[in-house]
C-alpha cells in the first residue's frame, strides 16, 4: 500500500464511499467471462462441496457433492464441472489470427477467462487441478476421461494467475481493490460483499452502513471457498445426513444454493462496475500474452502433453521465477504509464516526477562511453515540484515514448536535467518530436516497461550438480493416478 491509497481510504471513511485509486481499468474483461464460485468442505484439504458456474448471469449452473467425503461423488462433481468448463475453454481454441512477428505464428483470437470471488478461490482452483490432473480413465480407480483434462486446464489457469497482469483467472476482490480504496482495511476487502458495499452501496445507504449489513452471514454468506461455520453446523450437517438416509440430494442442493446465489449476484455486479471503467492502454497487450499462453497450452494438450509434475526442475523453476519477476516489473511500469493516479504513487515515493520542460539542448553531441564517434545526446531540463528521490545515472522512462532510454544528469533544487540516449532517428540531429520541447508537461519514472532481460540459464540437460543435476522428466506414474483423495 502507498500513502496515496491510505489517503484514499481515509477519504472513503470521510465521504462514506469508496474512492478511486485508478482512472482506467487495468484488467482485461472478456465479453463472455465464466464466473466460478467453488465451495469446499471445512477441515478437508481439497474436498469440493459445491460450485455455481456459468457465463450467463441469468442462468448459473449449480453443482454439488451431496456427501463430500465420498470419493466417487467428488469425481462425479469434477466430471460435471468438466461438462460446463471444457466446452467453454475449448470454444476459444478454433479461432486464430496470424501474428506478424519475425516468424509469424498463429494465436487464438480470444481466450477463456475465469472469474472467482477471491484469492481463496484461486488457491482452491489450483488444488482442484492438482487433485485431478494425474487421474486416468483406465486402471484401478478410473474417472471420467474429461476429469484429468479439466485438471490440466485448472492447473494452467491457476498458474497464469501467478503472473502479474494476467487476466486468465481473476480474483474479483483483487480486481476491485486495484481500482477502489474502501474505508475498511485491506484484510476486510477480501470480503467481496463488504468491499462492494463500500464501492456501490444500495440506494439510501452509505458505505459503512451497507458494509456492516453485508457482514451478516445470513444475507451475505461467505464468498467461499470456506463456508460459514454456523451454516455447517446448523444447516449443512443436517442436509448431508438427510441425503444419507434418503439418497436425495435435494436438501443439500437447496442449502448450498442459498450460500452461493448472493455471491453470484455480487460477482456480476462487480463485472458491471469494472466494465464502466475505460480500458487502460496496455490491457490489450497483456491479454495477448494470455492468449499466447492459451494457444501454446492448447497445442501442448493436443499433442498429448503430460500433466505438469508435482515439483519443477531447477532450470524450469529459475526460468519461471525470472518470468514472474519480469511480468511484475512490466506490469507495474505499464500500469503507471497508463494511469496518472497510479503514477502519483510513484511520484509520492520520489521514484517519478512530473513537470514542465524549461530548457532543451537539442544539438548537444558527445562521444558516448565505449564509442568512438560523437552522437546526439540532448539534455532536457525539467522544473518539478515533486519530491524527487533519484540520483544521477538512474535510467528513466516516460509515457511520451516508453521505449526511449533516458538518464538523470543532475538534480538541483526543483530542476532536473536528463539526457536522452536513443530513439532520435539516424540523423546527426534528433528527429522532430523525438525530444520534448520547452513548455511541454512531461513525466519521467524509474520504471522499466521492458521487464528486463531473463538471465542466461543452462538447458535442462545441463543442470549443474549443485542443483541436483539434470532432472528426470516427469512421466505420469500409476501411483499418481491412483493417489488417495480422502
Amino acid at each position: 500500500m502507498s500513502v496515496i491509497s491510505a489517503y484514499a481510504r481515509a477519504l472513503a471513511v470521510q465521504t462514506g464511499r469508496a474512492q478511486p485509486v485508478a482512472t482506467v481499468r487495468h484488467v482485461h474483461l472478456s465479453a463472455t467471462p465464466m464466473v466460478f464460485i467453488p465451495l469446499k468442505l471445512a477441515g478437508e484439504a481439497a474436498a469440493p462441496l459445491a460450485a455455481l458456474v456459468g457465463t450467463d448471469p441469468a442462468n448459473p449452473r449449480l453443482l454439488v457433492v451431496p456427501q463430500p467425503r465420498n470419493r466417487d461423488l467428488r469425481f462425479a462433481f469434477m466430471a460435471e464441472l468438466a461438462d460446463v468448463m471444457l466446452p467453454y475453454v475449448e470454444s476459444f481454441a478454433g479461432v486464430t489470427e496470424t501474428v506478424e512477428a519475425k516468424t509469424p505464428y498463429e494465436r487464438s483470437s480470444d481466450a477463456p477467462q475465469l472469474l472467482v470471488p477471491n484469492r481463496g478461490g484461486i488457491a482452491f482452483t489450483k488444488l482442484l487441478g492438482r487433485s485431478t490432473r494425474f487421474r486416468r480413465a483406465d486402471g484401478p480407480y478410473p474417472v471420467h476421461p474429461s476429469v484429468p483434462v479439466l485438471g490440466q486446464w485448472l492447473t494452467f489457469l491457476a498458474e497464469r494467475a501467478e503472473y502479474a497482469g494476467s487476466s486468465a483467472l481473476v480474483a474479483m476482490t483483487e480486481a476491485l481493490a486495484l481500482h477502489w480504496a474502501t474505508g475498511q482495511s485491506p484484510m476486510e476487502d477480501a470480503n467481496l460483499a463488504t468491499q462492494l458495499a463500500w464501492i456501490a452501496p444500495p440506494a439510501g445507504q452509505n458505505g459503512p452502513e451497507a458494509a456492516l449489513a453485508a457482514e451478516d452471514p445470513l444475507t451475505s454468506p461467505p464468498a467461499g471457498p470456506e463456508t460459514h461455520p454456523d451454516f455447517d453446523g446448523q444447516v449443512l450437517d443436517h442436509a448431508i445426513r438427510a441425503y444419507e438416509t434418503s439418497s436425495s440430494p435435494a436438501q443439500v442442493r437447496e442449502a448450498l444454493r442459498t450460500q452461493l446465489e448472493p455471491t453470484w449476484t455480487l460477482m456480476w455486479q462487480a463485472v458491471r462496475l469494472l466494465r464502466e471503467l475505460p480500458e487502460a492502454a496496455t490491457v490489450d497487450a497483456r491479454w495477448a500474452k494470455d492468449r499466447d499462453q492459451f494457444t501454446r497450452e492448447t497445442a501442448r494438450l493436443a499433442d498429448g502433453g503430460f500433466p505438469r509434475g508435482r515439483i519443477d526442475g531447477a532450470v524450469s523453476a529459475a526460468i519461471r521465477l525470472a518470468d514472474l519477476e519480469s511480468a511484475l516489473q512490466t506490469y507495474e511500469a505499464q500500469r503507471a504509464f497508463d494511469d496518472p493516479l497510479v503514477m502519483a504513487e510513484h511520484r509520492v515515493a520520489g521514484k517519478a516526477f512530473s513537470g514542465e520542460v524549461v530548457a532543451v539542448d537539442a544539438t548537444r553531441r558527445i562521444v558516448p562511453p565505449g564509442k568512438t564517434r560523437a552522437a546526439p545526446r540532448p539534455l532536457v531540463t525539467i522544473r518539478t515540484s515533486d519530491p524527487v528521490r533519484l540520483s544521477p545515472g538512474k535510467r528513466l522512462s516516460s509515457s511520451r515514448n516508453r521505449k526511449q532510454k533516458t538518464e538523470i544528469v543532475s538534480i538541483a533544487g526543483d530542476l532536473v536535467v536528463i539526457q536522452i540516449n536513443d530513439q532520435m532517428g539516424r540523423g546527426s540531429t534528433p528527429a522532430p518530436g523525438s525530444v520534448p520541447e520547452v513548455g511541454e508537461i512531461v513525466c519521467y519514472a524509474e520504471l522499466d516497461p521492458s521487464g528486463g532481460q531473463r538471465p542466461r540459464l543452462p538447458s535442462g540437460e545441463d543442470t549443474p550438480w549443485t542443483h541436483g543435476g539434470p532432472p528426470t522428466p516427469y512421466v505420469p506414474t500409476d501411483e499418481d493416478a491412483q493417489e488417495a483423495w480422502s
Binding site: S2, S5, Q14, A45, M187, D232, D237, A344
Partner: protein, 363 residues
C-alpha cells in the same frame, strides 16, 4: 478474592491455550485483551453479551476432522507417530513408552495434573532412557503479564537421548511438500508457546532449559489422504519474538491500578450497558488482524470507527499516514484546515502534497 476475580464476577476462569497466548503476543500493546485474558474472562460470552459476537468460529466438520486425525496419529500407543519419528525423521528409538497425563487416577484437577507433569518430565530428564518417551497432554504453566496461567495441553512432549521435543498434530494438509504458509506460521507460533513453557518448567526444576529443542515435530496429513507425515519445524524465530513480547506485556498490576475501584466485567448480574462501559475503560489497540483472532474484535472495531481512528484502515495504512491517530486529523492536515504539531510537520507536508496530486489525478 483478588481484583481479577472481582473483574470476572462469579463465572469460573477460562484456561489459556497456545492460540490465545500467541494472539496476545501478536498484539502486545492491547491492555484490554491482556486484562480479560489474565482474569480468565470468557471473551466469547462477553462479546456476545455486549452485542458484538465474535466474527469467527469453527466448523463442526473441521473439528471432527481434526479429532479423527489426532486419534489416528495416536492410535495404538502412537504407532503412527513412532513410525514417523523413526522413518521420516530418522531417529533411532529402540523402545518407546507412552504416558497420558490428561487425568491423574481419574482426577483432572489442574494442580494435580501439573504436579504429575513436572514429576514425570523431571524423572525422564534425570533418569534418561527408559524413563519415558512420549508424554501426552502435559499440563504446563506459563507466566503471562506477571500471572501464572495453565496452558491447555494440546501437544505431546517427546524425549530422545535426554532431549525433549514438542510434537504438534495439525490437520491441515501438506501437499507436494508444501503447506499453507499462514497455517504453518500459526502452528509455529503456537508450538513456540509450548517450547517456552516447557523450558520454563525445566528451569524451575533446576534443569538445563536448552534440553528442550527449538525443533518442533509437526505432524500433518500428507497430500489429499488421511495419512500422516512429519516435519521438523525450527521455531527459534517465533521463540525470540514470543520472549520479547511476553516481556513487553504490560504488567497487569499497572493496568489494574489505573482502573476505577470496584469495577467489574461481570455479565451475569449486570445489564449489557454496564459491562460495556466497564470494558471501555480499559484501552484496546485494535488492528484488523484482531478480527481473525480475538473474540472482542467487533466491539473494538466499532469503538475505533466511532472515534475515527486510523487503526481501522489497517497497520500499513496507519503507518503510511505517518502514524497520525485519527482520520479527521490526517485529512485536516492534508487540506490545511488543521495546523500541524511540531512532530507532525513532516507528515503534514507530505499529506498536503498527496492531496494535491491525488485531486489533480482524479479530476
Amino acid at each position: 478474592m483478588t481484583r481479577l476475580d472481582t473483574l470476572r464476577g462469579p463465572a469460573a476462569p477460562l484456561d489459556h491455550n497456545a492460540r490465545t497466548i500467541a494472539a496476545l503476543a501478536v498484539n502486545p500493546g492491547c491492555d484490554r485483551r491482556a486484562l480479560l485474558d489474565a482474569a480468565g474472562i470468557d471473551k466469547q460470552k462477553t462479546a456476545t453479551h455486549l452485542g458484538y459476537p465474535a466474527p469467527f468460529g469453527q466448523s463442526p466438520f473441521a473439528i471432527t476432522r481434526a479429532k479423527s486425525f489426532d486419534a489416528l496419529v495416536k492410535a495404538n500407543g502412537c504407532a503412527h507417530l513412532l513410525r514417523l519419528l523413526r522413518h521420516t525423521l530418522g531417529l533411532s528409538i529402540s523402545e518407546a513408552s507412552y504416558s497420558d497425563i490428561s487425568d491423574v487416577g481419574g482426577n483432572d484437577n489442574h494442580q494435580v495434573r501439573h504436579t504429575r507433569t513436572r514429576a514425570l518430565l523431571k524423572r525422564a530428564a534425570t533418569d534418561g532412557e527408559g524413563a519415558g518417551t512420549l508424554f501426552d497432554h502435559p499440563l504446563l504453566k506459563l507466566g503471562v503479564a506477571g500471572h501464572q496461567v495453565y496452558l491447555e495441553p494440546a501437544i505431546i512432549a517427546f524425549q530422545i537421548e535426554g532431549r525433549f521435543h514438542v510434537v504438534e498434530i495439525k490437520s491441515f494438509a501438506v501437499i507436494d511438500d508444501q503447506a499453507d504458509a499462514g497455517q504453518v506460521a500459526a502452528a509455529a507460533r503456537q508450538s513456540a508457546v509450548y517450547v517456552h513453557a516447557l523450558r520454563a518448567l525445566f528451569a524451575s526444576e533446576g534443569l538445563d532449559p536448552d534440553r528442550v529443542s527449538h525443533d518442533v515435530v509437526l505432524v500433518c496429513p500428507k497430500d489429499f489422504a488421511n495419512h500422516p507425515t512429519a516435519t521438523l519445524l525450527d521455531v527459534r524465530q517465533q521463540l525470540a519474538a514470543l520472549d520479547r513480547q511476553l516481556s513487553r506485556l504490560t504488567r497487569i498490576d499497572r493496568i489494574l491500578d489505573e482502573l476505577p475501584v470496584g469495577i467489574t466485567f461481570d455479565i451475569e448480574t449486570q445489564s449489557p450497558d454496564e459491562p460495556s462501559k466497564a470494558v471501555s475503560t480499559v484501552d484496546a489497540r485494535f488492528a484488523p488482524e484482531c478480527l481473525s483472532s480475538c473474540e472482542m474484535a467487533l466491539f473494538c472495531r466499532a469503538e475505533a470507527r466511532d472515534s475515527g481512528s486510523t487503526d481501522m484502515l489497517g497497520r500499513t495504512a496507519r503507518d503510511e499516514l505517518g502514524g497520525v491517530e485519527s482520520i479527521p486529523t490526517a485529512l485536516g492536515l492534508a487540506d490545511g484546515s488543521r495546523s500541524a504539531s511540531p512532530e507532525q510537520t513532516e507528515i503534514a507536508e507530505q499529506l498536503r502534497y498527496v492531496r494535491r496530486i491525488y485531486t489533480e489525478a482524479v479530476a
